[in-house]
Symmetry: C2
Subunit: 518 residues, 2 copies
């Protein structure tokens, strides 16, 4: 099925003599050719040339391309589903759902740039009579930064990989994309890359608007260091994301790395809700912790439970956990790392295990739950570290003051969740306020997994959850990662970008002389 | 007048036994006490505590504080004007103008946060009936990041110093500010700091919302490294800004440094406009190059002139330059560095001087103009380096192709300017398009100096002009440097920040279910 080639704009290329194997449920897949330096240069050069055209494409034109990608991905049919299941170990329902999300994201961004208000047009008109100096006409809008390098994520072989959220956002902004494919799903990557290539050709995009390169960490490094690259998107481990961040900052021209590095997504259960809703909360947490074998960035790895009710709660949670079916982890490396983390939890951090899921034949697993008290937790910062997999740690506390202490000690998180009866919530106003300091999204009476793709989503929290809490990698605002404002002063109408013309021909929302108008 | 103390929230403090002298036109000013580590810690600790209160203050409350600062600065009257003139060597008109700008900026940000739409509220309402999963209620808004360290700029002793644009933007956002005062104007800093302290007390702000510390580079480093600091604003040299940027990225928790490091702000004169408007253009450029002794970040240091008409143009420019009165540079260090740069231009880069302004008694100077051709310019990247002072380099070119080559070779700039007859401008569409890649603001038929403070301003261009071209340090959008989005999921109305309440009680512009409403 797959050829193992790199996709460089409109061609395929296999210059390296060595190849690597993809690992699948049924053994290995075809040999994949890692990109050579000349292939990396070719992809980046093409991206740079494509940018000079693509950045000026209208929203309508980019929308046609994005929708064509979604169509071509759907046209891959069963082949894509089987390949992705085979490489990721994820069940069919999940992969079908993820394909749905991937195509929805592409179509959402298509509509978003077609509508056009995302450029944040601001117009301050001239006032030649202003004293002491005349006021010039200044108009500003967002423009794309240039070629973007996207690292694909092993835990989202479709929705945060080759044609995932980062790629969709960058292409929507007007930035060509060069994907560094993931060694864990190179065949899935090739299929999707060829679908994008087909869509690009069909919709008359410039050669180089999209490329996809195979390879290990060195290929990734070369892409980040390439002078043509203007931004990097990454979803994965702290170690991986931080290394790219450091590398990008050491470039002669530093560039932003938007690394989403996960977190433990603390949940705080208030005494009142434990009394009334213990079972419902336990069930929700059990499902959230074990969703996708606990391999989601918003997986709740830390649950603060009132000391008074913890015994019963732990029992209820264990009961709920025991109904979770064994699940396959993404790959052996991740499975082994999960085992190591569990071992650490038990033997180095001396955490008691209140429920231990049977470990099936590798890489099949079931969730586990640990327990500790607040004092021990506050003493050992390692307990804040993410265990990538279906594990959560219960931490017992006695009063709200304890939680305030926690809220001001925890490192940066993607999310923070509070369970409480609604009428009692005002009691926890201070806690909710303090949690804003450490998280990008606060959730009440629901679990953090299941990240809604919408305008209001913020998926990105203070370091080390991400490298830049000012941006989101999910939702329409993700486009802002790949743009910068440019102001035009004293330009006659015909030379301005259409978004800034008098009369608002694009009918977009604009801030004109201080008022939003359409 | 001044005491040489550090301002730490509501107290003054002089713990160090050593002092340094301020240099003034009439000699030196009182001994200033550099901040000790314990004073740095005290200021940051107070800032951290103040943040917990101040970040929740309403727009109205913050506006009262910002306006009180402007009032207290004006109440300093002649003392401030004399002190700033004395320390900076800048003439009275300039200092009075700069005080006006400083107070306008403070009042502009007051109105901006009072109006309130700056929080970019986004509301996506719930849809419990959505299939396959119910849609949650998610609402997002910008919140302040935390304490901000502001480095004051020697070339703007008021408007980009103690109570300048960075401080105004950070305080408006809800971030406490700790200022690192500039050794070139410590007395001016102390006067303004005490005015801010007075305003803070009078308007019942939390102790620590503002502090100001004296010291050299080491004090600055300690502030950037302090764990409580969440962002840094800097206006100054490339060397200084880049060093802070590197330092901030090496922190255990990296933070953004918004460094505006200046540029050469190229001007492109088209043949048609040289024919018709040579004299007017020469006069505008002469005035722009020599404005404030050439010590503005938007000073045009590079002018591309058609080879055919350069002789006459150079003559006209020299004539215009000869009418410029001698000006005093900011301080001896800058004056000497200007002399070194001029020497380099002449003897290392072998650039011919077409007009050499007489060097008066140091630090008084008059502008100078060099000339070279495009070939030599493209060969020597040093010719792109900023000469901080009233110097500009004419570069001759023969055709538009030459300019496209330049537009794709030049490093990042704050601005790029084109002079052309309006009816001929469409001929230069490609050039204007390419210039977007290298500059933050494009200007037609006017000079880059004189940066309008408005919504549409973009003062920030690609590296090395700034460390982050996605942000501006001038205009209302400067507030965005000190905020990040937080999403609230499933929150009942009463627990949401007021900006996100149903019914829009603050009457701000919000993006509600995809539409802007007020």
């Amino acid at each position: 099925m797959t050829t193992g080639a790199n996709i460089i704009g409109f061609i395929t290329s296999k210059k390296s003599e060595s190849t690597f194997q993809g690992v699948t449920a049924s053994g290995t897949s075809a040999g994949f050719h890692p990109a050579t330096q000349s292939e990396i240069d070719a992809a980046m050069q093409k991206a740079s040339e494509a940018f000079q055209l693509y950045r000026n494409f209208t929203g309508e034109h980019k929308a046609i391309f994005l929708r064509a990608i979604a169509d071509e991905i759907e046209a891959l049919g069963e082949t894509l589903i089987e390949t992705a299941m085979n490489e990721s170990g994820l069940p069919e329902g999940r992969i079908i759902g993820e394909r749905g999300r991937t195509c929805s994201q592409l179509r959402l961004f298509a509509s978003y740039v077609e509508e056009g208000s995302w450029v944040e047009a601001v117009i301050d008109r001239a006032d030649p009579n202003r004293q002491p100096l005349p006021k010039p006409d200044i108009r500003k809008m967002l423009v794309p930064t240039g070629p973007v390098v996207v690292f694909t994520a092993s835990n989202f072989p479709l929705a945060f990989s080759t044609a995932g959220g980062d790629t969709a956002a960058a292409l929507a902004a007007g930035c060509p994309v060069v994907v560094k494919s993931h060694e864990a799903h190179p065949a899935t990557n090739e299929l999707v890359s060829l679908a994008i290539q087909k869509a690009a050709k069909r919709t008359v995009m410039p050669d180089g608007v999209f490329s996809s390169l195979n390879g290990d960490y060195e290929v990734g490094q070369a892409l980040v260091k390439h002078p043509v690259t203007t931004a990097v998107a990454f979803t994965g481990s702290f170690r991986g994301g931080k290394a790219l961040f450091d590398l990008a900052n050491k470039r002669p021209v530093p560039i932003p790395v938007f690394a989403e590095m996960g977190s433990v997504n603390p949940i705080f259960i208030m005494p009142n809700s434990l009394e009334s809703k213990s079972e419902s909360i336990a069930k929700q947490i059990a499902a959230s912790v074990s969703l996708g074998a606990g391999q989601f960035c918003t997986n709740p790895g830390l649950v603060f439970v009132p000391e008074a009710g913890v015994k019963d709660f732990a029992k209820t949670l264990a009961e709920a956990m025991s109904h979770v079916q064994p699940q396959c982890m993404l790959n052996h490396r991740i499975f082994e790392s999960y085992l190591r983390s569990l071992h650490q939890v038990k033997h180095e951090h001396e955490i008691s295990i209140v429920y231990e899921g049977e470990l099936q034949d590798a890489p099949n697993i079931r969730p586990s739950v640990g327990i500790t008290d607040l004092e021990a937790f506050l003493k050992n910062p390692h307990m804040q570290e993410e265990v990538f997999g279906p594990f959560t740690l219960l931490v017992t506390y006695s009063g709200t003051d304890d939680l305030l202490k926690v809220a001001n000690t925890l490192q940066g998180q993607l999310t923070a969740t509070v369970f409480s009866e609604e009428h009692q919530l005002p009691l926890y106003r201070v806690l909710l306020n303090d949690l804003q300091n450490i998280a990008g999204r606060l959730i009440l009476n629901s679990v953090p997994t299941g990240v809604e793709v919408c305008n209001a989503m913020q998926h990105g929290g203070p370091f080390p959850a991400t490298t830049d809490s000012r941006f989101t990698s999910v939702g329409t605002a993700a486009i802002r990662r790949f743009v910068r404002p440019v102001a035009f002063q004293g330009f006659p109408g015909e030379l301005l970008p259409e978004a800034l013309h008098d009369g608002n021909p694009l009918k977009i929302w604009r801030l004109e002389d201080g008022e939003y108008r359409k």
